[in-house]
């Protein structure tokens, strides 16, 4: 018995040795498999762990005005962020609450519990990160009461294949109220939780745009806290704020709707700031430059340890030099703003252009906005802007279509001369309103359509008129005849030729200015009216069209381009803002050459009579705009007072009617100077402003006066001058 067990014992020892051998061979075999057979795969994975191609963002191009004044530049800003992976220790099984405590410690150190400014900033950043619904859920489930505001938001609605924007009233959390610490901790915790689903080493921003001193303070306070990072990012700064905001535009993160387009163009960071409006949008590629590339080694926290691979230096964005003169722009802005204030207009536009080159010298659309607020996050200013019913973000210079009124007469006059409807000496007599007999009841005068000229209301009949006088007096009867003709006396231009010349003058389509958001206009003609109104074109329509009313619509910029075409002797120019692109070393990379869109088919000698008419508007004793004369220079101009109907569904009628039930007017004025050799053409438009001659012309006068005579002497200088 004993021997047998002795044997099993010896057997066991032998088994032990065999087992040891087997275990060793198993481990060694596995090591051979991992380290030798599969090492290529694992080495690749180890390299993928530590090597990163990172993009080095180039500095965005600076924007200058024509005199080298800075309009847009980059300013360093600071972001305080947390790295989720660094919040808790190195163990695999991390206790959940430990992270929450770490977040609370950080927020306390940042004074989010005591400093309302910090708390608001933090809530705002979290709101943008988490979105409306998640933000509200997280805060309320943390046991914190949340206030809401009702705003109108735009949604993308998918209707089968087509996507369209719909506006819907929506409740959003009120960010102007300070949240208690529990709410903020819950928000950051949620952001960290979501952040770790991607890479737990990507930093999550907590506070943005903390100024330099504040950032240093915070950096000192949080030095001991794990997981907190202070990062520096460039922020776009617009020096002149609301003065040139429509032209410059603004930056924002790539919009979700366009994410794929930007990605296809090689944008790797979905949150990269890109131009969303204005020149920032049009010249996005040039301003952005070319990102550099760096091959770096990182540790598990994504911290750059060293640069390994060859570096492609980022190519800085090109600097833009505009034709805008910021001083002129300021005068235009102030003059127009004062007028808007005086006549209580909802919006107004003033544009100045060199008529020979199309270079835009100034462009104002009111109301304006401070484009810096887009880089400052959703503050109270942003919310106010969003809520403003006048929609200040729209650039009305290119985004609004209005009846040009009498300004259009220069188109009608040019057309009539060029088409031979009249010659410069032709006379048409204004002896009161004209009646257009009803087509179906030609003998019943009570059913005839009555057409009056503005002067008839004042009891004045202008009598015999040539085209120059008619332009100067802005007589409507004259132009009715040109547009629709008069039975047995004159064959008018008619719809077809009016539409053709409207096209020629640039009222159709777009002007091609280097700004986004330009609306497209369609000249009304017989076909247009049949399609849109299911009616045929009448002589009355031609009458109205001839004086820039009825179906004629144009943007203020189109009106300016047509004026410039008269001023420069018949060339429709492409308006252009950016004149030069300059690289970081100061080298000229691109220069704009003026582009003639088309030459009007009218002889210089005939066009001269239209120019004469515009000269007479300002300079003849009977002209409608003597108040736009400027000392030392000859100005030509044209007033416009355009009747309009802004349909108000609430009253089922046009808004702004006066006490006699008359329709309201837009005030228009176009001008150019010097008459002999024009350098500047100008349009002033005041929505619901009233008389063009009294409301719009003085603005133009002030601008032209500054342009030719410089700033008026300050009051002190006058006083010293008199006392001497």
């Amino acid at each position: 018995m004993f021997e047998r067990s002795e044997r099993t014992a010896t057997l066991a020892t032998a088994m032990v040795r065999l087992g040891l051998l087997a275990a060793f061979l198993l481990l060694a075999g596995r090591l051979y498999q991992l380290q030798i057979l599969q090492s290529v795969t694992y080495q690749a994975q180890a390299d993928a762990n530590r090597f990163r191609f990172i993009e080095v963002a180039p500095p965005r191009g600076v924007i200058y005005d024509r005199n080298g004044e800075i309009l847009a530049r980059n300013r360093p800003s600071f972001v305080i962020a947390v790295v989720p992976a660094e919040l808790s220790d190195d163990l695999i099984d991390t206790d959940v609450d430990e992270e929450r405590l770490a977040i609370e410690r950080i927020l306390r150190a940042l004074k989010a519990d005591s400093d309302p400014e910090i708390a608001l900033n933090l809530a705002e950043v979290m709101f943008l990160r988490l979105g409306r619904a998640d933000f509200a859920d997280v805060v309320t489930s943390a046991g914190v009461d949340l206030d809401y505001r009702l705003v109108t938001l735009q949604f993308v609605e998918k209707d089968g294949e087509t996507e369209r924007l719909v506006e819907r009233p929506t409740l959003i959390p009120d960010l102007s109220k300070q949240l208690p610490l529990e709410g903020l901790v819950a928000l950051v915790y949620r952001a960290v939780e979501l952040g770790t689903q991607g890479s737990s080493f990507a930093a999550i921003p907590l506070l943005e745009l903390v100024n330099r001193e504040r950032a240093f303070d915070v950096a000192e306070e949080i030095f001991q806290l794990p997981g907190v990072k202070v990062q520096q990012i460039p922020v776009r700064e617009y020096v002149h704020e609301e003065l040139v905001s429509h032209t410059l535009g603004f930056l924002g993160p790539i919009p979700a709707l366009a994410a794929e387009i930007y990605e296809a163009e090689g944008y790797r960071d979905p949150n990269e700031q890109v131009g969303l409006n204005g020149l920032e949008y049009t010249y996005q590629d040039e301003l952005r430059g070319v990102p550099g590339q760096k091959y770096i080694e990182v540790d598990i926290l994504g911290r750059e340890m060293r640069t390994v691979g060859q570096v492609i230096e980022p190519l800085p964005g090109l600097n833009l030099r505009l034709s805008i003169d910021i001083r002129l722009q300021e005068v235009m802005y102030n003059a127009l703003a004062a007028t808007v204030e005086k006549v209580k207009s909802p919006h107004a536009v003033a544009i100045a252009m060199n008529p020979k080159t199309g270079a835009i010298l100034g462009l104002v659309s009111l109301p304006s906005f401070d484009n810096n607020i887009f880089s400052e996050g959703i503050g109270p200013e942003y919310l106010a802007l969003e809520a403003d019913e006048r929609k200040p973000l729209i650039n009305y210079a290119i985004g609004g279509l209005y009846p040009p009124g009498s300004i259009f007469k220069l188109v009608t006059a040019t057309a009539a001369l060029a088409e031979g409807v009249i010659d410069p000496t032709s006379v048409i007599v204004d002896n009161g309103p004209i009646y257009l007999r009803n087509r179906f009841f030609p003998d019943d005068l009570s059913q005839a359509q009555k057409f009056v000229s503005w002067n008839h209301k004042l009891g004045i009949y202008h009598g015999r008129l040539t085209v120059v006088e008619a332009l100067a007096l802005s007589n409507d009867i004259f132009f009715y005849w040109l547009g629709g003709g008069f039975p047995d006396s004159l064959e008018g231009l008619g719809n077809e030729r009016l539409a053709k010349w409207m096209n020629l003058f640039g009222y159709a389509g777009q002007t091609g200015i280097d700004l986004p958001g330009e609306v497209t206009s369609f000249p009304p003609d017989d076909q247009w009216k049949r399609i849109n109104l299911a009616e045929s074109w009448t002589t009355g329509d031609s009458y109205n069209m001839a004086i820039g009313q009825g179906y004629v619509l144009g943007t203020p910029l189109q009106v300016l381009v047509s004026t410039a075409a008269v001023a420069n002797g018949g060339y429709v120019m492409k308006p252009q803002i950016v004149q030069e692109m300059i690289d970081a070393e100061g080298g000229l990379q691109w220069e704009f050459t003026p582009q003639v869109v088309r030459e009007l088919p009218v002889s210089k000698s005939l066009l001269h009579y239209v120019q004469q008419g515009l000269w007479a508007v300002v300079n003849a004793p009977y002209g409608t705009a003597p108040n736009s004369r400027v000392a030392g220079v000859t100005v030509a101009g044209k007033t416009g007072t355009a009747e309009f109907c802004q349909w108000d569904p609430a009253i089922e009628d046009c808004a702004f009617r006066d006490k006699d039930d008359n329709l309201p007017f837009h005030a228009w004025y176009v001008a150019y100077a010097p008459f002999e050799n024009p350098e500047i053409a100008l349009v002033v438009f005041v929505y619901n402003g009233g008389e063009g001659s009294t409301v719009a012309a003085p603005v133009a006068q002030e601008v032209l006066n500054f342009y030719f005579n410089g700033p008026p002497p300050a009051e002190e200088d006058i006083q010293t001058a008199t006392s001497e």
Binding site: M1, F2, R4, S5, E6, R7, T8, A9, A12, T13, M15, V16, R17, L20, A23, F24, L26, L27, A28, R30, L31, Y32, L34, Q35, I36, Q38, S39, T41, Y42, Q43, Q45, A46, D47, N49, R50, D90, L91, I92, D93, E297, V298, D299, I300, L301, M305
Partner: protein
């Protein structure tokens, strides 16, 4: 005179291998921690632990292991008693009740418990060696093993429970029992498995799941994957000491303790890992040789116990690094950072030295 004859039998080769392993361990702890400010002095601490451990080793070696027989029963009582105390009053940390407060610090009785278990079983199995082929005595041995094992399992500490089972199983097997008894026990064990599976704690199931299906728990399997990448990254000769990217850039976590083998694999390569494995298996082989040479059954079983601990930890730890074993907290003997781990390993070697120094009966009679 006695000292000289003792010294003559001191296993110098074993000692050299152990010292080499400790030295490599310190070097690798340095490499794994020098880039982390908080841990930068760990290699110095490990050096200190080694010196303490060596003192313990020598002290134990010169102590006659046969005196331990007297301690066998109190050792068992102490083991079961302390486990009972932990069960009743122990502190809970990380979801399991493994620690007991002694004078303000938390002590984990199971660390020392391994040794108490070996001493007791070496005594019991040698004392009743002749009776063991009777099934009753075998069952009694199994019962005595089952008591502390159950407590450890309930803490819950699956890794330590399996360690206990492994040590006890090896000792019972090598003490010589009948083959058909083994067969019966084996079948009984298999029959009991489904019932045991029902008692697995949540975290145990999770770890097994992670092992069987790494995608089920990305966070935990992350480190297992990083370990594989580190090992594969090493290739033949490794990236060089202090130059493993997985290690130096901290992609590998818990790298100075549980995953130090992956650090070695990355920095010293296949050559290095095979050398380490050879050294470790040489130590175990040498311990088995001592067991064979032992003058009595108690010494033989004591040494086999020591060998089984070192083997089990080596196999489980390296296996975990190589993804052929699930993740447990077992350290790599002599190499992983940690005072209690290193000192207890050196103490274990000291026990074996004590046995081999006294293996010739003639010297003492």
């Amino acid at each position: 005179m006695l000292d000289r004859s003792l010294l003559r039998n001191f296993d110098l080769l074993l000692m050299v291998a152990v010292l080499a392993l400790c030295g490599i361990g310190i070097a690798m702890v340095y490499s794994a921690t020098n880039t982390t400010i908080d841990l930068a002095d760990y290699w110095e601490r490990q050096l200190f632990f080694m010196l303490v451990g060596l003192a313990v080793l020598l002290a134990v070696a010169f102590f006659d292991y046969r005196h331990l027989e007297l301690l066998a029963q109190p050792a068992y009582a102490g083991l079961v008693g302390s486990l009972l105390l932990v069960y009743l009053f122990g502190a809970v940390q990380g979801g399991s009740q493994r620690w007991i407060g002694v004078g303000g610090t938390l002590v984990q009785p199971t660390e020392a418990g391994k040794f108490l278990l070996i001493i007791f079983f070496a005594w019991y199995l040698s004392r009743f060696q002749e009776q063991l082929q009777r099934f009753g005595y075998l069952l009694a041995a199994l019962f005595l093993l089952a008591v502390p094992l159950t407590f450890v399992y309930l803490q819950p500490d699956l890794g330590m429970a399996i360690t206990f089972a492994f040590i006890g199983g090896v000792l019972i097997l090598v003490s010589g029992i009948r083959l058909w008894h083994i067969a019966i026990l084996g079948m009984g064990g298999l029959a009991a498995l489904p019932f045991l599976a029902g008692t697995l704690q949540g975290y145990m199931v999770e770890r097994l799941q992670t092992f069987l299906d790494p995608s089920s728990n990305r966070d935990a399997s992350f480190n297992v994957l990083q370990a594989l990448i580190s090992i594969g990254n090493g290739s033949w000769l490794g990236k060089g000491w202090g130059h493993g990217s997985q290690n130096q850039l901290h992609f590998l976590r818990v790298r100075h303790t549980d995953f130090i083998f992956s650090v070695i694999a990355e920095e010293l390569g296949f050559v290095g890992t095979i050398l380490i494995l050879l050294l470790l298996f040489f130590v175990i082989w040498r311990l088995v040789r001592i067991a064979d040479m032992a003058q009595d059954q108690f010494g033989r079983l004591l040494t086999m116990g020591v060998a089984s601990i070192i083997f089990f930890q080596t196999f489980v730890n390296v296996g975990m690094n190589l993804s052929i074993m699930p993740v447990t907290g077992l350290t790599l003997p002599f190499i992983s950072y940690g005072g209690s781990s290193l000192i207890s390993m050196l103490l274990a070697v000291g026990l074996a030295q004590s046995v081999v120094m006294r293996h010739r009966k003639m010297d003492f009679q």
